[in-house]
Subunit: 173 residues, 2 copies
């Protein structure tokens, strides 16, 4: 598929609802479990998505439209959620993410971007020249990547419990 | 985590809601896309989950409780959904899966199984001796494995669209 605004917004708008249906009020073993030291729990992932919403996705869209290739994007802190999520409940994080995502998509729609705009360039601190279309596509896949991570982390809590079936369970094996 | 009925039922009961929040009315490019020849689309995966509900999970629980190790489980057809899903809409499949899963969990609860029952043995056609606890744990992880698959298949539709960011997107790279 090539990037399409409506396809992308359809997916991006669903992510908070998917997380809510999946994680709200789930027993804490699933929510707090990780894949080992220095890996993230589902709780941590929701915090990461919140931080992306606050400082990455639409922030970089605005930056790219304002500066083009003349100024690189600000660097994104991949670990900010550990401080920001402290003392908050998962329910609060899910509510926050849903509200921020709704606002992000409202801002995106308000820009009335066209297919031609997808070619507009920006500068990534590591990659150099990137396009608006690549950035927006990455937003979608980044959501999906973290849904994969949440499923994988939760599935691995039963790595031993499944016994010989692990052979056929790709997220464990 | 060791297997726990309430943990497992909490997860199993959410899967239809997650799929509904995610896939219902999503543009067809996401629903019908695959990872290439002989791979499954999200539509195919929902059909597979329906078939598992009809012929695998609670069917094997009943079989194990009735026969123990004396008779192997019937073999599960991993490709039955291609015929069964033909001419049906995704909305119909989501409704069917939700109803079947609800019925499965009602049947599971009605058995009033205990922690001691988790050690009860059955015979798998390939693995030989397995336990009820391993089978039930596998049911949970199987759901999660297919949620991973759906996210991965959808994310890969944008493999080219994300440009250099693919380096940081685990489901593509």
């Amino acid at each position: 598929m090539t990037f399409d605004y409506e396809d992308a917004i359809a997916m991006l708008s669903r992510t908070p609802r998917v997380l809510d249906a999946w994680l709200r009020d789930l027993p804490s073993g699933w929510i707090a479990g990780t894949e080992g030291p220095s890996t993230w729990s589902p709780f941590d992932v929701v915090g990461h998505l919140i931080h992306g919403e606050r400082t990455d996705w639409m922030t970089r869209v605005d930056h790219l439209l304002a500066h083009g290739e003349s100024a690189p994007f600000p660097v994104f802190d991949r670990f900010a959620q550990f401080a920001a999520s402290k003392d908050r409940t998962l329910g609060e994080l899910l509510d926050t993410f849903a509200a921020l995502r709704e606002d992000s998509l409202r801002r995106l729609r308000a820009l009335h971007l066209t297919t031609a705009d997808l070619e507009r360039p920006g500068r990534h601190p590591e990659f150099g020249r990137v396009t608006l279309g690549e950035h927006l596509s990455t937003w979608v896949v980044h959501d999906l990547d973290h849904l994969v991570q949440i499923a994988r982390v939760m599935g691995r809590q039963y790595s031993a419990a499944v016994g010989p079936w692990r052979k056929y369970l790709r997220i464990i094996e």
